[in-house]
């Protein structure tokens, strides 16, 4: 589904990312861990064609992301606040995103209804602008918007941040369910080793821009990761 080829990215001469080859199969939940500055967000931005690689390229469904547009209809993403239009109400934002993704008015209402449990009654019908909601609620909106329009790939950068404990659990269930039902490929980064081993089939550890470990999740994965990150 996603293929990374000889990819390098450097900022002001300092190498931020260097991945020789990485292949992510359809329907995998791909977890990305690593300390600050390891290159997680850089990789995601490259996947989404938000920054230009120095060398190499990334393909989604066999097409280079930098030279085509079709992948955008297959991909939902939420990296940071830059993916939210903060002067809209949540409903208006979903409507805008839905329309761009080609959903009808009914589809959009259906989607909002489906997400009601995830929102826990704190997002819809509040008549508040997104910028006046708490960070956690903004995070929920961003994650939900990434799931709109039946995407085949969903990219989430540290989605567990600022979510309350119950919502973290709801998010885990949501990811598992979507993976089962729709065979969505997830790319998720996180600092929470528990969560990421819980939901992901495959975990890649980044260190200084390079792949340090590439693990298929098993019984002892969590212990191995904890050992790796121990100080």
């Amino acid at each position: 589904m996603i293929q990374v080829n000889n990819l390098t990215k450097s900022y002001n001469g300092v190498e931020a990312l260097n991945i020789n080859s990485l292949k992510i199969e359809k329907g995998t939940c791909f977890g990305l861990v690593g300390n600050n500055g390891a290159g997680k967000t850089t990789l995601f931005r490259l996947v989404l064609d938000l920054i230009r690689p120095n060398e190499g390229f990334i393909e989604i469904a066999g097409k280079n992301v930098a030279s085509t547009e079709q992948w955008k209809q297959l991909t939902g993403s939420f990296l940071d606040q830059g993916f939210l239009i903060d002067f809209l109400q949540p409903e208006e934002f979903f409507e805008f995103t839905g329309k761009i993704k080609g959903l009808s008015q009914d589809d959009i209402q259906l989607f909002i209804k489906e997400m009601e449990d995830f929102f826990n009654g704190e997002v819809i019908g509040k008549k508040k602008l997104i910028r006046n909601l708490s960070m956690g609620n903004q995070q929920k909106i961003g994650i939900a918007a990434a799931l709109m329009g039946n995407p085949e790939i969903v990219v989430l950068d540290e989605p567990f941040n600022s979510l309350d404990p119950s919502t973290q659990i709801r998010l885990k269930n949501l990811v598992k369910r979507k993976k089962e039902e729709k065979k969505i490929t997830f790319l998720i980064s996180s600092h929470d080793l528990n969560h990421i081993t819980d939901i992901c089939d495959r975990i890649v550890v980044l260190h200084e821009g390079k792949i340090a470990h590439d693990i298929l999740t098993g019984e002892d994965t969590l212990t191995a990761l904890e050992l790796y990150f121990a100080v």
């Binding site: 830059g82 939210l84 008549k127």
Partner: protein, 494 residues
């Protein structure tokens, strides 16, 4: 010392901002313009100050100059309103520290006294004070007189700060103020009274009965206090994001747009952007003033004969709203530009939406300026030519250059403190848009056929209109090439 660290933070903020570093040319240009103005005012005021009695040949030279001062102050008022930056301090990082709130407020307001216009006033008044007032009344009176003039200037300074801040807070107060000022100006115009003579009499009385010198100081202190009170009431964080009013959250819903698919959605978001953010809202409030620009020029005969000025006024009135919108068409959306890039939005439609909104703005401005035909039917023809030129030619050019505007503008933090207002650089950016049409028109005028000049101007607009799809493709290509640079610029907040 606290004040030293404040000043050093401010300095670092200014110097380290990427905008400063990246648009060095712009800054040098601004400095250059400022320097020339400065030097001119200095030479002129020394000359006038020392030679005034020879220049006017009036029996009361001082009184004649007081009348000049009256007009100086009212011109200053308008200039400041359009160009003066508001003093800004990002208070949030300091609010939780053991710093006295009043100290922060005085710092902000004190910073407001340091600006270009106040410097101009010092240069303007000082030579006259010593050459003329000193000559007639002695140097001590000259100093006191100078100080009181500068305090009147400070009063205007703080009045402008207050008005500009209220502009986004309470439209009522601003409307009342504008109504009062307009009424006073009208009274002067209709000769119910003479503003300049009254002012001159006041200054004369002031010099004679020394006590009145206190009045400007009291006035300045009063306006300062009003500002202070306003700021201290708006210091709390909950006020910083004061958009909890439910009515505000509803405005900008235009159901009609839903019939136009994705383009309608994009325009809808643009409308909400304009109506729900303070910065853009204050721009909208100013627009009636732009449309009234013609009133300053049309009633006067000498301008009516000068076609170049008429073109300028026409381009300005029909185009200023559109140019203001397009100049920041992408920058205003900078805070969610990443989302636009990844969402699968068709960028061709996105650009078309911008074209449509801009065309509507130009058309509405044109319709609103139609009544000016009362000043002469040729004004109608000139404005029509300007409208066509704006519609066909200026829109694509402005949108093309908007892709080079990669400074992220913080729209939502529209508090009294964090106000990226309309400053001088904003206006300088617009100069090329107004020079272009003149370059086209003036040769025709010089060769004795100004009417043909208008026709050519309008025709260029019409022809450009036919090539709109071509322009859209060029802008699309430019965005595709520049999107990484733009996105990186927008990601650098603050």
């Amino acid at each position: 010392m606290l004040i030293q660290s404040f000043i050093s933070h401010q300095w670092k903020q200014a110097v380290r901002s990427t905008i400063w570093q990246k648009s060095l040319a712009m800054n040098i240009f601004m400095f250059f313009i400022g320097f020339i103005l400065f030097a001119e005012v200095m030479v002129l005021s020394i000359f006038i100050g020392s030679e005034w009695h020879d220049i006017v040949k009036d029996t009361e030279p001082l009184k004649a100059f007081y009348k000049v001062i009256a007009y100086y102050f009212s011109a200053m008022f308008v200039m400041r309103f359009l160009m003066q930056q508001l003093p800004v301090l990002e208070v949030r990082p300091y609010l939780h520290l053991p710093v006295k709130k009043n100290y922060l407020l005085h710092f902000i307001l004190g910073k407001g006294a340091l600006n270009f216009f106040n410097l101009v006033s010092i240069i303007f008044f000082t030579p006259f004070a010593f050459f003329q007032i000193g000559y007639y009344y002695g140097n001590l009176t000259a100093v006191v007189w100078l100080v009181s003039m500068l305090f009147i200037d400070l009063t205007i300074n703080y009045l402008i700060i207050y008005i500009k801040k209220q502009l986004v807070n309470s439209l009522t107060i601003v409307s009342i103020m504008i109504a009062v000022i307009g009424f006073l100006a009208l009274g002067d115009y209709l000769k119910w009274y003479s503003y300049s003579s009254l002012f001159a009499d006041f200054i004369e009385t002031m010099i004679k009965s020394q006590v009145l010198f206190v009045l400007p100081i009291v006035l300045a202190a009063f306006v300062y206090w009003i500002n202070f009170r306003f700021l201290s009431r708006n210091l709390y964080i909950e006020n910083l994001s004061s958009y909890t009013k439910k009515t505000d959250n509803q405005i900008g819903n235009v159901g009609y747009l839903k019939n136009f698919g994705v383009i309608g959605e994009i325009i809808g978001v643009d409308i909400k952007l304009y109506l729900r953010n303070k910065r853009t809202k204050s721009m909208l409030y100013l627009s009636p003033l732009f449309l009234a620009y013609g009133l300053m020029f049309y009633p006067q005969d000498q301008y009516e004969r000068d076609g170049g000025m008429m073109i300028f006024v026409g381009i300005f009135m029909t185009g200023i709203l559109m140019v203001n919108y397009l100049q920041y068409a992408f920058a205003y959306e900078g805070s969610y530009f990443d989302m636009l890039l990844t969402s699968g939005i068709n960028f061709k439609e996105y650009i078309r939406a911008k074209f449509i909104t801009a065309s509507i703005l130009v058309s509405v401005s044109f319709i609103l300026t139609l009544p000016y035909f009362l000043f002469g039917i040729e004004i109608f023809f000139i404005n029509t030519a300007c409208f066509l030129f704006n519609l066909g030619m200026v829109i694509p050019i402005a949108l093309y250059f908007a892709t080079y505007n990669k400074k992220s503008l913080n729209l939502s933090q529209g508090s009294a403190f964090n106000y990226q207002g309309v400053g001088a650089s904003h206006w300088l950016f617009l100069i090329p848009f107004f020079i272009g049409p003149l370059v086209i028109y003036l040769p025709f005028k010089w060769f004795g056929n100004p009417t043909l000049g208008y026709i050519v101007l309008g025709s260029i607009g019409l022809i450009a209109l036919v090539f709109r799809q071509f322009f859209i493709r060029i802008i699309l290509k430019n965005i595709t090439e520049r999107k990484y640079i733009m996105a990186a610029g927008f990601r650098e907040r603050g």
